[in-house]
Amino acid sequence: MDSIRKKVTELLESGAVKVVIGYGEGSDNNVKAIFVRKPQDASKLIYDERCVQNLAFYLMKHEVKHMGKRGVIAPLSVMRTVLQVASECQLKEDEVVVLGITSEKELVEFSNLKELETYISKSDLSLPAKEKEIMDKIEAMSPAERWQYWTNQLSKCIKCYACRAACPMCYCIRCQVECNQPQWITAEATPMGNVEWHLMRAMHLAGRCVNCGECARSCPMEIPINLLTYKTVSMVKGNFEVYAGASSTMESVLSSYKSDDKENFIR
């Protein structure tokens, strides 16, 4: 941890970055995101198993963006988010310094996004054990059982859209859900309406979700909503052999056309 704090102090003192987004002690044994601007505050940075929030979200937040060049403490999910949003032109390489952090709290420095891509290609991207267990359970269900499981889970949804607010990929200035000409998604939380909203969102995230789990973490009703998007991730990997957050130049799987596309309906 010391090497990280030292690096952050260096970066801030030299003016190389204006702010470093990291984890700090919150209230009641919680962890909160902190925005270190003074070199002496680097000592407030921490990292342990409680630090799971996807800090990359803040890289694109208006108030933070306008501070200038920003650094971010980056566990794997943050690294992948940086690459994915860069590939979607939401972040430029020279706007961010990625301070990679391993689970042993070791600092991994990257001088450019290509190095980040290499690092990720060698990393273990499998799901955490607890989530893999639930995924396997659902995979083993019959279609009717899966439908039952999801309609049951989604009936708890109160349509607060915290999942959308927390997701770093949901940065659309006018989301479908905010459109009233026509009103695609109704405000009411009805069983089928909830399913409609979440399926639509999962489709918009296919090939883009980086498995950070922020959606499920922010859901006040504790619906495992991340599993829906995780499923689209594994389907995209199976069909197109790519996954999100692997490259800063990768084209979006569902919105780019290649002449050697597997499907022939478009030829």
């Binding site: 209230s27 979200f57 933070v64 607060c160 915290a162 009411e188």
Partner: protein, 342 residues
């Protein structure tokens, strides 16, 4: 009305639930489902859980539902017919197991919905709610009711307040005429109780975290403080705080219509959302999150006390529990007060 003290045994409470249900009332109580406790309709007392500190969502939806039909619309080529909401169709509800902070929240909501213009739908719903509250014998780090002029055994807002005593029976305080109505009608279930019972022995002791008077005074002076930006940097504008809060009442009005019939409805909204104050011209008076965070706090602690003589917070701590980024309201209030004093 003087508060009358009675005793109700668990078996009698069970019977009361059944009798109230037979009278045609809907009974909402805390129910545990998939690890979360929330208010849901019950038919028997067994369905209710007592092993929790607070429900995730507040109880406000019994009087202020997430979506409320205001009136129905029917159109033909020749005419448009509006059918007013039939207030008689609003059911009688018994809110069983509401914590004192939940019960106190209705006061704030009422202040907004009866401010000059009377929202008859809300008033009718609230009139038909009877609150049988339940005192708290435990609390967690997020609770701060005692800093908000409340306490875990407060009778304010409840019609009857139950406190579980050490022998498993409940002290039942009959507080309002509505509560008296139930206690008198089912008098066999409410027994007399010894005068020496000390309620405070069975109620959690929540430490006071701040001086509310000082907070209210200082918040009024803090509009230009830089602290709003600092505090809101990590806010992701998810709206969870407003949705779980017992006193948040901001709403949107929309029409649902399929070409020949529909209705106009009001539904929950949050001042924390980016589009809340967006003008069609593209101008947004609250463009950045720090302005929206400031609006949230000042509305509750400065504007409401000034215009409606009620503070828009009961110290239940739900906002802090639901927040995914640790925007701890209690801490923020203390920081704000300290900052202004400096």
């Amino acid at each position: 009305m003087n508060i009358e003290k009675k005793l109700i045994k668990p078996a009698s409470l069970e019977k009361l639930v059944i009798l109230l249900k037979e009278e045609g009332k809907q009974i909402f109580a805390p129910v545990k489902k998939d690890n979360l406790v929330n208010f849901a309709e019950i038919s028997t007392l067994q369905e209710m859980t007592e092993d929790y500190i607070l429900t995730v969502q507040s109880a406000k939806s019994v009087a202020f539902p997430k979506v409320e039909n205001l009136f129905d619309i029917k159109t033909t080529k020749e005419s448009i017919t509006l059918t007013d909401k039939n207030l008689n169709e609003i059911p009688e509800i018994v809110l069983l197991g509401a914590r004192p902070c939940d019960a106190a929240g209705f006061d704030s909501l009422n202040a907004i919905f009866t401010w000059d213009y009377i929202d008859s739908i809300f008033v009718e719903r609230l009139k038909k709610v009877t609150i049988i509250g339940m005192s708290c014998n435990k609390y967690d780090a997020k609770c701060f009711c005692t800093s908000m002029n409340g306490n875990p055994g407060d009778t304010k807002g409840s019609d009857i307040l139950l406190t579980k005593t050490n022998d498993g029976n409940y002290l039942a305080e009959i507080i309002t005429e509505k509560g008296k109505g139930i206690a008198d009608k089912h008098s066999s279930l409410f027994e007399s109780i010894s005068d020496t019972i000390d309620k405070n022995k069975f109620i959690a002791e929540v430490p006071v975290k701040f001086d509310l008077k000082q907070i209210l005074e200082n918040i009024n002076k803090s509009f230009e403080s830089d602290l709003w930006v600092e505090q809101s940097l990590r806010c992701i504008s998810c709206g969870s705080c407003a949705y779980v809060c017992p006193t948040c009442a901001c709403f949107d009005i929309q029409d649902i219509y399929n070409g020949h019939e529909g209705h106009r409805k009001r539904s929950w909204d949050s001042c924390g959302f980016g589009l809340f104050t967006l003008h069609t011209s593209g101008h947004n008076p609250r463009e950045v999150q720090s302005q929206r965070w400031r609006q949230r706090v000042m509305h509750k602690f400065a504007y409401m006390p000034d215009r409606q003589q009620v503070v828009g917070c009961v110290g239940c701590g739900r906002c802090s529990r639901a927040c995914p980024v640790d925007m701890n309201l209690k801490e923020h209030l203390i920081n704000l007060a300290e900052e202004v004093v400096k």
